[in-house]
Assembly symmetry: C3
Homo-oligomer: 354 residues x 3
């Protein structure tokens, strides 16, 4: 029930979250500061009931278990109650119910809705009919704004513990740059940070679409012809899975046969010692996949699980913003957790700085 | 574990809710008064933990997402914990487990069970084996008592804000009167209210079954041959979807081809200015459907979403009754919600009187 | 992230629960004492929020509704929040994600994970990658340790109210002793109790594997050739379903055609008057099944539903142990439940001694 198209409204209390374009540099940094403040809650040092009585309807019209669990865990950590619906049980829509009716009805049971849907633009249509704020958890070829937010939040943290900043950082982006929605959203959101330089490496035919090069923004996009070239001077390497079946060119297909996108050897040969290694996950660990190899997993720069851990913090911050709750309000509802479930072996600290 | 058939027991603390026949005029009005008192809770003005520690097992052997979410949201609003199971995962019954065993086992984990099942009478069989109260959320061709209750509750509220009463009201019922379980339950439950007059309109072969005309009750049932005739003097029009494939008569099929059941033009041409428009939902919004048109959606009498919103209040009242909780007990466990998720644009008030 | 194989670590705060081999006689009795102390909580006499703020990820890669609900209800009774995922929605693993990545990611959202998986050993692989404790809810042909624990807990209680002890008890085990994982785990766990005697009855070709006879432990295993022989002097009879299609021998198949595994007549003819009747459930109640007959259901020794009821108590005790919560801590977070949902007819006491 938005007065203006929700994608154009700034993200604030009571608003939908449909697109990263709703953020300014100031509002995205405010969100990240809030996420930083919520880390003790996300790590279980405190219990909190600030969202007691609030109901989240988590509606996944296509499966995305990890995204769903991350949102639901964030809401539960704030003391709210989660009601889950996954794709197979949307019976009324099969009987011809419109998105408008479905959304309006369920919004009457809910204080906020998180929606994943396979069709681009569909989540905005849910938002138009809803009485309560709607969060886009991915709408097909459209957007997945919380993924881009947690990626930039992770960049900020990982670079921060290395005494660097996002501004002026060099980020190698490798893999499927054509179809990879995650990569597009990341580049878009990073326009808020002047001076970021991207080094792009992809198999032929999976290059970044031309429109990204035409934009008059502060980015410097450099196309590289090898992993070595992409990694040169990079502070961060962001990898995305390549589905081999998308490569139709025979020569390319042969050239990358029996190789992986990135492995430990390539990192140690061509990367800086403090290189941050990122990936939106899932990565394909099957034999023959063209993806990030598991042999990088004990490199000190591995941040792929920090990304998912950070997703919890960022999504808590998103819910707090939507419900008009600041850090002081959260802390006023902290109680010390009496329970500790840590395994007897030391739980690895997500960050040295943490 | 009922001493008497549960369908014959009055609805009260600790009892199953299987049928609308468990209600007297007094007990149904008491339920509605309680639902009225719970509205501020349902609208998120307060959080409440009166059912803290109670567990609802929500068992849907067939999908009905909105009914399920309405029940679950009602329980969560009272502070209880919801455990959801949807049809696809009932593995033990596929291995030959009886309804008795399934129900007895799950009741040992639960404080109340809400059950939807495709087979008429099956929910009563669950209730017979259960240690805890069972609520019927629809059993195929059997009953769906909470739908009838929320419909009559909505009638009471909508007529109330128009300075009318359910007694003596004229209700047009249109659509599939033969197979529409909702319509049958509504007519049955309204027998508690003397002097209600029904004006019936349906395509030939989908008429109300003869048994409803044979009953010696206070109703006046008038069969109408057109929408215009049905709407004459009606205070309320209650629409139900017609599945075109159920119309086997060729002449009828042709007569209603390219028409809808009810649209804005018909309402403004033939209806009273304060006509209340109801529908149990889902409505079929696909092109060519014979159902309530979406062009009525901004008419002031549209109550179809008030019905679903009211479902939350009625189901909260049902849980309160089952657990022996009156309004004073609920209010003693209110805490003010610090959070507000309302969208920046004004959230439409469900009722002028609200 | 276990330093030693988890199956070899004692079960204690912060540890995984993968195998019954993690228990000593002392630690299993401590768990059962805790379960006894939690009974008033499991029966709804109190609400408790000792696990407030804790998140359980309940991951069922194959359906097992009752096991899932039992775990989830136990966690909810302690005030924790449950996030459920059932098999059909594990999309990322279908895209080639490893168990390691899936487990590590979801553990970042969770304080504990309960996992059911069809492949033997897979739950231990989840545990290796998880930041938080993992509970095995059944891994195919592997283990289902909480089933064995609730069985022995039930034995202790049922024998206790009959002034007997587990030590020295005679237990008839009947049915499919070859493929019945439950039976194997029960026999294994009962090695902690010296002097238990087993009387085994199964159709030919479904006998207990030879390895159980070769072990040098305190058990006395006696193979019987008839139900009557097995029941002689038995304090308890533990039945398991036989899938007729597993019997390939024609003579055997004919011999047990048109019979059940155990019925009321056999019990009254051959059993002690205080015989305890157990079954892990589900039992196959379809006509022609070779299982425990429903006509035993009103015998005073029927304990099959006590087993499932006890599962709630044992699983609460497991969570308390994992989170380092003793009975005093639980009781310090008790609040009296104001609500009572008991049906008006007397709810049968699970035990005369309860």
């Amino acid at each position: 029930m938005s007065a203006t198209p929700a994608g154009d409204s700034p993200f604030q209390q009571g608003s939908d979250l449909l697109s990263t374009s709703q953020f300014s540099r100031e509002s995205v940094e405010r969100l990240f500061d809030l996420a930083d403040g919520l880390r003790p809650l996300g790590r279980g040092e405190f219990a909190c009931d600030v969202l007691s009585g609030a109901v989240l309807s988590s509606l996944f019209f296509e499966p995305s278990t990890r995204t769903r669990l991350s949102f639901e865990s964030a809401f539960a950590h704030l003391g709210g109650h989660v009601l889950t619906t996954t794709g197979f049980t949307f019976s009324s829509m099969a009987k011809g119910e419109s998105i408008h009716d479905t959304s309006r009805v369920i919004s009457g049971y809910s204080d906020v809705m998180v929606i994943r849907h396979p069709d681009k633009g569909s989540v905005a249509r849910f938002a138009d009919a809803s009485l309560v704020p709607v969060v886009n958890a991915g709408d097909g070829d459209g957007e997945h704004p919380t993924q881009a937010l947690l990626d930039v939040y992770t960049l900020r943290r990982e670079l921060g513990v290395r005494d660097k900043q996002v501004e002026g950082a060099t980020i190698a982006i490798m893999g499927d740059l054509r179809y990879g929605r995650t990569v597009h959203s990341l580049i878009d959101l990073l326009r808020l940070y002047p001076g970021v330089r991207f080094r792009l490496y992809s198999p032929p035919s999976l290059e970044l679409p031309a429109e990204y090069f035409d934009r008059a923004d502060a980015h410097r996009l450099t196309v590289c012809s090898s992993v070595a070239e992409a990694l040169a001077d990079a502070d961060v390497v962001y990898n995305t899975r390549v589905q081999r079946e998308r490569i139709t060119d025979e020569a390319t297909s042969q050239a990358i046969a029996n190789t992986v996108l990135l492995n430990r050897q390539m990192v140690t040969d061509h990367g800086r010692p403090d290189l941050v290694i990122m990936h939106p996950l899932p990565r394909d660990s099957r034999p023959g996949s063209y993806d990030l190899s598991a042999d990088v997993d004990d490199l000190p720069g591995l941040a792929i699980f920090h990304q998912t851990d950070n997703g919890l913090m960022v999504r808590m911050a998103i819910f707090c913003t939507i419900f008009g709750i600041d850090l002081a309000a959260v802390r006023s509802r902290y109680s010390i957790s009496k329970w500790v479930s840590a395994k007897p072996v030391p739980r690895p600290a997500p960050y040295s700085a943490d």
